[in-house]
C-alpha cells in the first residue's frame, strides 16, 4: 500500500525552554521530516510507558535537515515528561498525519494568526510560504509579553491583551485593524478555540480562511473516531485527525470549548 506515514523511533537532539513552561524540542526523524507539510501533525508516545498511555498530538513547528522541531507548553503529564527528556532519549513519532494548510501560489498574500500553542505552526508555515513565492505576514497574540517568543529570522507582529508588547489587544483585533487598509488572499489561523471562533466570525465570509483545530484525540489516524468536529451543514462530523486538523472555516462549526 502506498504510504507517506511513518512510525519512527526519534531521539531528542536538544530541548530549549524559550518562555516559562514553553519548550522547543528537536528530534532526529529522517522520514517524517522529509514528508511533513505545514499544518500537519505527529503523534508522540513514550516507548513502554503505560502512564501516559496514549500518544499526544503536536503540530510540526519546523523542519531542520533530518530533524523535526516540536513546540509545546508543558501543562500536562505528557508534555512535562517530554520537556525533561535528555538528549539522545527516544520517543515514538507517528506521522506526518492529517491535512495541513493549502499550498500557496506564487505571489499570493497570506496572513497567519496564531495564539498560545498555535504558535507551533508559525515557522513551518512562513518558511514554506516564502519558498513557494507567496507573501506571508505573521501575527502572534498572547495575554502578556512573557508568553511570547521569537523565532529566528521570522518577522512577527505581536499583540498582547495587556499591551506589554506590540499591539494592545487580541490578535484578531489587530487583523481587523489591518483589514481596513489591506486585504490578504488567504488567512490561516491556529490557536485556542475561542480565538478560532472569532477568526471565523470576523473573516470567514470576507477572505478564504483556514483554521487548524485542536481537540482531544486518541490515535490521530482515524482508527478511534474520537476527535469529531461538527460540520457546518449539520450533517454530522468530520474527524480532526484525517479530515483536518486544518479546515476551511466554511466547512465546520468551531467548538468554543464548552462541554
Amino acid at each position: 500500500m502506498p504510504t507517506n506515514q511513518f512510525l519512527e523511533y526519534a531521539s531528542v537532539i536538544k530541548t530549549l525552554e524559550v518562555a516559562p513552561h514553553t519548550f522547543l524540542t528537536e528530534f532526529s526523524s529522517p522520514k517524517i521530516s522529509a514528508a511533513v507539510k505545514p499544518g500537519q501533525f505527529v503523534m508522540l508516545s513514550f516507548p513502554g510507558s503505560l502512564d501516559p498511555l496514549l500518544p499526544r498530538a503536536f503540530s510540526v513547528c519546523e523542519v531542520k535537515g533530518d530533524g523535526v522541531v516540536l513546540f509545546y507548553v508543558a501543562v500536562g503529564k505528557g508534555t512535562r515528561l517530554l520537556s525533561k527528556l535528555r538528549n539522545g532519549e527516544e520517543v515514538i513519532l507517528n506521522g506526518p498525519l492529517g491535512r495541513g494548510f493549502p499550498e500557496l501560489a506564487r505571489g499570493e498574500k497570506v496572513w497567519l494568526a496564531v495564539g498560545g500553542s498555535g504558535a507551533a505552526v508559525l515557522p513551518i508555515v512562513i518558511t514554506s510560504a516564502i519558498d513557494s513565492g507567496a507573501f506571508p505576514e505573521a501575527f502572534y497574540g498572547a495575554r502578556t509579553m512573557k508568553q511570547l517568543m521569537h523565532f529566528d529570522n521570522i518577522q512577527i507582529e505581536f499583540a498582547t491583551d495587556d499591551g506589554s508588547a506590540g499591539f494592545h489587544g487580541t490578535v484578531v483585533e489587530l487583523l481587523k485593524l489591518k483589514m481596513k487598509k489591506d486585504r490578504p488572499d488567504k488567512i490561516f489561523a491556529c490557536g485556542p478555540s475561542p480565538m478560532l471562533a472569532s477568526v471565523q466570525r470576523e473573516f470567514g465570509e470576507k477572505v478564504r480562511t483556514y483554521i487548524s483545530v485542536e481537540t482531544p484525540m486518541a490515535c490521530g489516524m482515524g482508527l478511534c473516531q474520537g476527535c469529531p468536529v461538527r460540520k457546518k451543514d449539520g450533517t454530522g462530523y468530520y474527524l480532526a485527525c484525517k479530515d483536518g486538523p486544518v479546515f476551511d472555516t466554511n466547512e465546520i462549526e468551531v467548538a468554543t470549548g464548552a462541554i
Binding site: L50, P55, A218, L223, Y237
Partner: protein, 312 residues
C-alpha cells in the same frame, strides 16, 4: 507461514491468535499504512449498523491512569457502504475479515447478518450487544442472558460461518452470558467489551466525556478481564477470544494460559499501530524457547495448584 501459531475458531483457521478489536482498527484500511494486515489472525471491523451513524457529541475520549475512556456512539458508515467501499479494499489486503454488527432491534441484527452472510469476503461475524434494546425499556441486549440468547439464535440461523458473541463485563456473572451464547450455537465468545467508567474535570465540575460515562479500556483493565476469561473457561467449551488491555506479547501469552484461544488488540494500536509485528515475534520466541510444539498447548495451561491444596 508459521503452522505452529495457527488457531481454530469455529470454522475459521487463523494464522495466529492476534486479531484487532472492533472499533479500534477502523475498517482495516488505515492500519495497512503501518504493517501488513494479512499477517494478523483476523481484522474485526468497526461495529456496523443498518444505517450510518454519526456518533456522539465530543468530547468522546479521555485518558485515565493506564487506560482510556471512550464513548464514540458507534459512529460508522453503515453496512451498505461497508460492503461496497471497504470490503473490496480489505479483500485486496489479503486480511481475514470478521464483521462486527450492532443494532437496537432484534430484527436489525437479523437483517445485518443476512446481508453479510452473502458476502464471500466476510469470514466471520462478531455480535456487539452493547446497545440498549428499545423494545425492552432500554436494557442492554448483552446484559441479559435471555436477550443475548435470542439474538444469537436469530443470527445463527442465517449465518453459517464463524460466529462470535462479544460479552459485556458489566455483569455479576459473565459465565451465564457465555453459556447462553454457547447454548444458541455461537462458535466463540469474546471476553470482553469495555468496563463502564467515568472521569471528572474538577475545575469545570463536568464529566470529561460528553455522555458522562464511557467504556474503560487499556492496561488498567487487563487483570479484570483476565479473571473474566478464567471464569468463562470453566463454564463453556467453545473458544474464548480475550480482549482487554493487551500492550505486550507477555500479555498475549498470559491470556492464552488463562484459557483464551485468541486475543483482540485495541487501545494499543493507537499508541503503536504496527504493534502486531512486535507481538508476533515475541510470541514466536516464547513458543520456541518453551519447547512447545504448538501455541495451542498454552491454552488453559494455568497451573493453579488447587489440586494440591487439602480441602477442609
Amino acid at each position: 507461514m508459521k503452522t505452529h501459531l495457527k488457531i481454530g475458531i469455529g470454522k475459521l483457521e487463523l494464522k495466529n491468535p492476534l486479531m484487532t478489536a472492533s472499533g479500534t482498527s477502523g475498517y482495516g484500511d488505515e492500519l495497512g499504512n503501518y504493517f501488513d494486515v494479512a499477517a494478523l489472525g483476523a481484522v474485526v471491523s468497526k461495529s456496523l449498523t443498518l444505517k450510518p451513524k454519526i456518533g456522539n457529541e465530543p468530547p468522546r475520549v479521555t485518558e485515565v491512569a493506564c487506560g482510556m475512556l471512550n464513548s464514540i456512539g458507534l459512529a460508522n458508515i453503515g453496512v451498505e457502504r461497508f460492503i461496497s467501499e471497504k470490503l473490496p479494499k480489505l479483500r485486496k489486503s489479503g486480511a481475514t475479515i470478521i464483521a462486527n454488527i450492532a443494532a437496537k432491534r432484534a430484527e436489525d441484527y437479523l437483517s445485518l447478518a443476512e446481508m453479510l452472510s452473502d458476502e464471500e469476503d466476510v469470514q466471520g461475524l462478531e455480535i456487539n450487544l452493547s446497545c440498549p434494546n428499545v423494545k425492552e425499556g432500554g436494557i442492554e441486549f448483552g446484559s441479559d442472558p435471555k436477550m443475548l440468547g435470542t439474538i444469537t439464535r436469530l443470527v445463527r440461523n442465517v449465518f453459517p460461518k464463524t460466529l462470535l458473541v462479544k460479552l459485556t463485563p458489566n455483569v455479576t456473572r459473565i459465565s451465564e452470558l457465555a453459556r447462553a451464547a454457547e447454548g444458541e450455537g455461537a462458535d466463540a465468545v469474546t471476553v470482553a467489551n469495555t468496563y463502564v467508567g467515568m472521569a471528572i474535570d474538577i475545575y469545570k465540575r463536568a464529566p470529561k466525556i460528553h455522555t458522562v460515562t464511557g467504556g474503560l479500556s487499556g492496561p488498567a483493565i487487563k487483570p479484570l478481564t483476565m479473571a473474566k476469561v478464567y471464569e468463562v473457561t470453566k463454564s463453556v467449551d467453545i473458544p474464548i477470544v480475550a480482549s482487554g488491555g493487551i500492550f505486550t506479547w507477555q500479555d498475549v501469552i498470559e491470556y492464552l494460559i488463562a484459557g483464551a484461544s485468541a486475543v483482540e488488540l485495541g487501545t494499543v494500536l493507537f499508541a503503536k499501530p504496527n504493534v502486531p509485528e512486535e507481538l508476533l515475534s515475541g510470541i514466536e520466541s516464547y513458543v520456541s524457547s518453551s519447547k512447545l510444539e504448538h501455541i495451542s498447548d498454552l491454552i488453559g495451561s494455568l497451573n493453579t495448584g488447587v489440586e494440591k491444596v487439602s480441602a477442609h
